[in-house]
């Protein structure tokens, strides 16, 4: 019984990580209807960026991410402004193919620079610290921080989207590009800003990716799939739905792993397919749309 309770708790905590992966993807789709096939690879890229900043400056990853975040904001802004804005339009193929190409470039670029070796972000004692809950169940501090960070990210994103002028501009642009322009909104700038913001979220996701487990240049595509599954399970259009989707996916994976360790990933995918078959609009779809 404890084993199952433990699986549930760990599943919810793992869901925090997936929600962090998914929040960036959700943001990109929400504002510019962009489905970014390189999302997972960009998370891995950010993890390497934190690794390098932490290593070169001898910093703790938590400090390094604060330094890497603005850099990543600029990279995201530039990527959208220079490259991805050119691909957006009625035709679906260009954004998909360009981000697919980016995925291959990032993956192999990282392989070239860092080799296929596994890496890990090191943060001392916190990595292994845990809070005992009694009954043989303990919560790892890092997994807990992951979930809390995911909640914090979603609260902040919701505040930006629903309480600030730029958030209004994000939503207006997503509703109607042409009329948004009539409001004096510079579309390509808004898109670039949204991508910059998504990259900051990605930096936070990358921090926990690297703290929780080993990573190497090839694990990006799987992270894209988890992020995507969380977004679809939760239902498009709501950040809280994305968090819920992440938790559902995390639970499915830990429960699957509890039955047979080799079934962890498969159980997550199957949960996604079941949700898709039964509730194609996700578990928590936005009322309108």
């Amino acid at each position: 019984m404890t084993g199952w309770l433990d699986a549930l708790i760990q599943g919810v905590l793992l869901g925090g990580l997936y929600a962090l992966f998914a929040a960036g993807l959700s943001l990109m789709f929400g504002v510019m209807r962009l489905v970014n096939l390189a999302h997972g690879d960009i998370i891995v890229l950010a993890a390497f960026a934190i690794l390098v900043v932490a290593g070169k400056l001898g910093l703790d990853p938590f400090v390094a991410v604060a330094l890497a975040a603005p850099i990543l904001f600029v990279i995201g802004f530039a990527l959208q402004h220079v490259l991805l804005n050119r691909t957006l339009g009625r035709d679906l193929l260009p954004p998909l193919l360009v981000t697919f190409g980016l995925s291959i470039i990032i993956q192999n670029g990282l392989l070239q620079i860092f080799s296929a070796d596994s890496q890990r972000l090191r943060s001392g004692a916190i990595e292994t610290a845990s809070i005992p809950l009694g009954g043989g169940i303990a919560i790892g501090v890092v997994p807990l921080l992951t979930l809390l960070s995911a909640i914090a990210v979603i609260v902040v994103l919701n505040m930006i989207f629903y309480r600030t002028p730029i958030g209004r501009a994000f939503r207006a642009t997503s509703d109607d590009l042409e009329v948004a322009e009539l409001m004096g909104i510079d579309i390509s700038r808004i898109f670039a800003t949204a991508m910059g913001l998504a990259f900051v979220v990605i930096a936070i996701a990358a921090l926990y990716l690297g703290l929780r487990a080993n990573f190497d240049p090839t694990i990006g595509p799987a992270r894209l799939l988890y992020a995507f599954e969380a977004v679809i399970i939760g239902g498009l259009g709501s950040f809280w739905g994305t968090l819920a989707g992440g938790v559902v996916l995390g639970l499915a994976q830990t429960i699957g792993a509890r039955i047979d360790p080799e079934w962890q990933i498969l159980a997550g995918h199957l949960a996604f397919l079941v949700v898709l078959a039964l509730r194609p609009r996700g578990l928590f779809p936005r009322a309108q749309d």
């Binding site: 691909t87 954004p95 360009v98 291959i104 470039i105 070239q112 799939l225 679809i232 080799e262 995918h269």
Partner: protein, 366 residues
Amino acid sequence: MGEAAAKPTQTFRTGTAGRAPGAIAAIACVMLLALALLPVVAGRNLIQDMIFLFYMLALAQCWNLLAGYAGLISVGQQAFVGLGGYLLFALTLLGGIDPLLAIPLAGLVSALFALPTAFIVFRLRGAYFAIGTWVVAEVYRLVFAQFKPLGGGTGMSLTPSITSSVPGIEWVKALLNVRTPAARDLISYWAALALMVGTLGFVYLVLRSRRGLALGAIRDHEGAAAGLGVDIYRVKLAVYVATAAMTGMIGALIYLQKARISPDAAFSVTDWTAYVVFIVVIGGIGTIEGPVVGAVIFYLLQRYLADFGASYLILLGTLGIVVMLFAPKGLWGLITERYDLALFPTRRRLVIPPRAEIARRVDFPK
């Protein structure tokens, strides 16, 4: 359409013929014959290269039909390559079926798998469909990795008794005076040639049919096509299942030739989707000629640059992005912009008889 069709003012006819269809058909026949007889003069390396070229081209034609015509942008076609490969292993090793018979059977079973797969992934639209197909391919990979009779996660090899039992192998050995492995390659070569030509022919015939016209309409404007009475779901489903069958057959052939299979290789997104997408985009999506051009270029790059590993892939990715941004119709698009060429004419042209002068004065509604 006959002369009697539109009596009142004007008669029109539509035709799909290009400039000199007869000449091109003749050239095609000669080329086909030359390719079929190539083994008489070619060495084993060239034959193996050609097998690779043929199956990549066949895969590219399938993906082109899916993405370029039906608007189904899949990044999960590796699901059917791997499935076809594993089916070949299952049918021959576990079922004791003749390998050449196993290839069409693998195609048939792939189509059967494609139906429930479509039921789920068709719930996702546009770009989400793409990632959804990828998830499905991962599910296939993970399931086959669990299937111990076919080697589980590490995979397995075809036994020599099967690879050497390909029908016709003795005949080839005697005719061309070669050893068993070379004879096996030759059988694979002809099978690959047949599959490639078959795929090409199938795509060509589909596009020239009424259903092909519906596909073009969907590609150009899905909403308008639906308004004109095209049952989009059914047309897309038919294309998805048909390409799954062909992709499955190609996958079976690939793994008959490779004689060794593992889940990671058989369901590789890079090998069976990224490369294929690259071929179609570089060559020119939405044309039959484009993938042919793309496959030849990809073959040359692969042959001379693949040793550079990661840098080679970076180059491919960059090339794909550049073409998508600056020449979205691909190399074949650049060629046809300059010359009015169509090796596989599928576009319908309005043929206006000479007395149609009046038509010029008719004002078209806005």
